[in-house]
Symmetry: C2
Subunit: 206 residues, 2 copies
DNA sequence: ACAATTCGGTACCGATCGGTACTGATCACA
DNA sequence: TGTGATCAGTACCGATCGGTACCGAATTGT
């Protein structure tokens, strides 16, 4: 029923569930939730439809687990960024991480959390709402980190943590769109550097 | 065969092709190319499947025409922005226009050129590539406008028109993603204002 | 050895996909 | 008023959609 080991009765699983999930993640990443058929998924996972249903539940739950896997892997730069000592370094780590992750030659260009399901028909609505929440959760976490920086006098008292977080996330998501449009890592790194020049510390008085 | 008037023989069309195309555009905008079924489209257009095929060709051509309609309507702020007298005003018009268009209460949130097809399966590849080209064409037009500003000494000689254009387009596309995530017009206007503060004229010497 | 249990695979489910042949009604032109 | 062209609609096409029942084979604890 789950991917967890349970009682040791019966025939053991004949495939690597983690590796299969990783491959499913790549298919969702490249083709989106609605664009990835079960035939595409199970073909890439190297298992049959029945094995997929037994191991992961159904397509929607497979997508949820693939997104969790994405969080632990390609998107893990996010939590690492929040641990940076200063808000400026946090912002730089987010954008640099976004550039790297969206242009990783071993993965599809772009971001699963963006292109996995940005618009969807009726059947794809749960996946779309899952990603909306995923993106907003990331933004709220960044806002929280920036607010802490204000409280610690790392950012000036005039800084608006919600506004800064939304700006950084907007650039990060825009980088993901540009990567999906074929932009290179170098080109997107310039975008990230340009965006980071617009930081409160560097800002001239209005 | 086309939406144009031709010879005046036979029974005339019984529906407004322009209005039908507008409604199809809204469906593609909200549900994406793959998420919009022919039943969804023809239902919203108020016509039958045969009428749609006779008037627009097929689903892919309907999408192309819906995108052209999007260019003439909701995305028409782009060419208007390029006509602004200075590069700074061009950039502001682009981002302000993006904020308005992606949060128009009469249209789905976000941008058809982004969420219409950012990732796709095999059947949706033509639509995806069409939008990749659409986004890159917009960026190249903006780059051209900025290069003209450099030539006219509106922008400093050190300005990199390609880099600036990609930065502005990245923010615009990020705004579209944020709008699709539920961000309000006011919140996104702050993002646009923040991004515009990062303009060469305002930049402190490095 | 036996029984319990889970495996992976085939075959199939009803529904929907994009697309089309055909039909009878409806119009413009002569 | 013919007459021919085009309309909108019904019915249907093969293929694929996500999902499931059932199967013999394989591996476990007893």
């Amino acid at each position: 029923m789950t991917t967890q080991n349970k009682a040791h009765v019966g025939r053991p699983r004949g495939f690597d569930a983690d590796e299969a999930l990783r491959r499913a993640m790549l298919v969702f990443w490249e083709q989106g939730y609605e664009g990835a058929s079960l035939a595409d998924l199970t073909g890439a996972m190297g298992i049959t439809k029945t094995s997929m249903y037994a191991a992961f539940g159904n397509k929607e739950q497979l997508f949820r687990k693939a997104l969790a896997r994405y969080d632990e892997g390609p998107a893990s730069y996010g939590p690492r960024a929040w641990a940076e000592p200063t808000a400026a370094k946090v912002a730089a780590a987010i954008l640099n991480g976004a550039v790297e992750a969206t242009t990783d030659p071993d993965c599809p260009p772009g971001c699963l959390g963006v292109q996995g399901s940005l618009a969807a028909g009726e059947l794809g609505l749960p996946a779309r709402e899952l990603l909306v929440e995923w993106r907003n959760a990331a933004r709220r976490a960044l806002e929280k980190r920036f607010q802490r920086a204000v409280d610690e006098h790392d950012l000036p008292p005039s800084a608006n943590s919600a506004q800064l977080a939304r700006y950084i996330m907007t650039v990060a998501f825009g980088i993901a769109v540009e990567a999906a449009s074929g932009a290179s890592r170098e080109e997107l790194q310039e975008v990230a550097d340009t965006a980071l020049r617009n930081w409160p510390d560097f800002q001239r008085p209005q």
